[in-house]
Amino acid sequence: MSAAPATFYRRVEAALGNPTLQAAVRLSTGRMVANRQAAMAAFPEAESVRDRARAIRAHTIAHLDRYLRQFEANVVARGGRVHWAATAADAVRLVTEIAREHGVRTAVKSKSMVSEEIDLNAALAQAGVEVLESDLGEFIVQLANDHPSHIVMPIIHKSRAEIARLFRDRLQATDEDVSDVPQMTRLARRVLRAGFLHADMGISGGNFGVAATGSLCITTNEGNGRLTTTLPRVHVALMGIERLVPTFDDLAVMLQVLGRSATGQKLTVYTNIISGPRRHGQGPGAGGQGPGGESDGPEHFHVVLVDNGRSSLLGGELAEILYCIRCGACLNACPVYQQLGGHAYGSVYPGPVGAVLTPALRGLYEWHDLPQASSLCGACREICPVRIDIPRMLLELRSETTRIGYTPWWVSLGLSTLATLATRPRLFRRAQALASWATRRLATDGWIRRMPGHLARWTDARDFPAFAPQTFQQQWEARRK
């Protein structure tokens, strides 16, 4: 979360001035929304499962302390370890300490938004641990020294040609290596496979934690999530404290809406559920080799539970954002995201969910522009698999922005003037008459091409209508007489 929010409007300008970016984002988000609609339409229980998914998330958040304690006890009972991070700095310190404890030199990572949130890679590099991103998109982001611009499709903003150039520069790719997307993918697979075979530690996120069993669920389509949590001796999972569900049955409910909402898949290709480290000492050895117990899997399993501001939302107006399951559907459905892409937001979590989550976790001081980046059209609320009322929370944040004095003076003045007039009908009528006189003077043919003051921003792109010579109410009274 390093980008300077003062440049929010400049980033918006940059995004709007980049037609290639806009076309790429519109194409991808459009396809994902269409896939999601088709998947939901073909899912007979879609609405009732969404209701249940919401009820499960709401119930879990309402009793989060209880479920976290249960989750912790069960992870430990299965031989895993649980670490608690109050802040991003604590989380980074814990992961670094775990790496040091196990003598880790190289780590592979599968996609984790929490790791972006705490800026983990930089800290690990400083501690001498080389980190390789293994999700194809995140790998490209890492090679390009860029940031993901979507929580599910990290390189939605990058064209194939850009990636081909990057592969030539950074991976010494040949013409053949970058001749088409499957070739480029094969090249990435080769590079990453070597990283997987040699990595000492795997770092993953966590889509869900299951309290009743101490299990962690990680979904990926590529299989990098499985490799990350299977090959290296050590597995560290980073998970926000809110990502729990009570039981496996509840997990099944969530999984039915996660894949469909994210990409239109009934289930993500690899739905990987991990209950502790590799189990030793039970049953015969594999093929007669080695001691008894499970054939493979990590020897050590750590879960780092990251708070980083989340607990402060509990019991407040923004607690509902903690229901989020990070499917990315609200980004895809949001017309503002569709026009801008993710980088314009400047935050790790972009789009509607990011516009709530970022100021909620990081504060309005730096991030009060994000809740304004919405026309309140409600497409996010409509598409959300757990029916989070994002517009309600954007409004809450706008209200808070006003209370702490960050609303622009001309907006505040305008609103207090409007309220003064609107509660005094005779004054209101006089103001209407004045506005009518003024706008009709400025107008040609009933429309104004250029408004004065801040309203000039309106007339940059559209004409503004002149007020009617007589209001409806005046004409109505005349008609009644």
Partner: protein
């Protein structure tokens, strides 16, 4: 570290007791809900499983009996020109003694064992990396999504369904469940049976680059299910 645990849990406890229940929340657990209405007879489930997996570019090979299934597996291995196969132990594969059958046919079966310590582990992984075919059984399969359910354990390594570019799974009709919720409801203790449960729904895929669908980016690009 102890302090962090205390502080985070205390902040959460304060938070959840602070306001009213969050929107849509119930005091009590909302319950698992009804199981979806799906066909549950083996043939309908086999049809659905085949349809779903085929749509995802996986392949289902139906067999009539143990011998047919074993032959099907051998044919698939040969079709990929493989002589070494990363395989689950014989006792976990459906056709009885299929391992012996494959060995007799000249196939080397590599067990899934990974050593715990670093250097031996890396060496073993490197030695396995050029194997083209992985062979597994299954814990179950999901008819309405075309998914395999695999549980890790002794002789049931995760890497057989993960490292090689081709995954062959042998599944009995009796292992089919109508849907994911049916599977979960029927196997409440599955987390005790192994430290890893994975649902595999088709071949490894990515669409990260310009939404171009590409198979086999990390996991197997081919998934063959021998179903009988």
């Amino acid at each position: 570290m102890k302090d962090d645990r205390y502080n985070v849990l205390a902040a959460i406890a304060r938070g959840v007791s602070r306001g009213p229940l969050p929107p849509g929340a119930l005091r009590d657990h909302p319950g698992a809900g009804p199981l979806p209405d799906r066909p549950s007879d083996p043939e309908s489930m086999a049809d659905s499983f085949t349809r779903e997996l085929t749509a995802l570019k996986g392949t289902v090979h139906r067999a009539d009996d143990d011998a047919g299934a074993a032959n099907q597996v051998l044919e698939l291995i040969r079709a990929h020109g493989a002589t070494r196969v990363l395989a689950w132990d014989d006792e976990w594969l459906a056709p009885p003694r299929v391992g012996a059958f494959l060995r007799d046919a000249g196939i080397t079966l590599e067990p899934c064992w990974l050593p715990p310590d670093r250097d031996a582990r890396t060496a073993r992984l490197e030695a396995l990396d050029d194997i083209v075919v992985g062979l597994t059984g299954a814990y179950g399969a999901l008819a309405d999504t075309g998914s395999l359910a695999l549980v890790s354990g002794p002789g049931r390594g995760r890497i057989a369904s993960l490292l090689p570019p081709v995954h062959i799974a042998v599944v009995r009709l009796s292992q089919l469940y109508p849907s994911l919720p049916h599977f979960m409801a029927a196997n409440p203790g599955v987390a005790d049976d192994g430290s890893n449960l994975v649902f595999i729904t088709g071949p490894s895929r990515t669409g990260d680059i310009e939404l171009t669908l590409t198979l086999g980016v990390h996991g197997p690009g081919e998934v063959h299910v021998v179903l009988y």
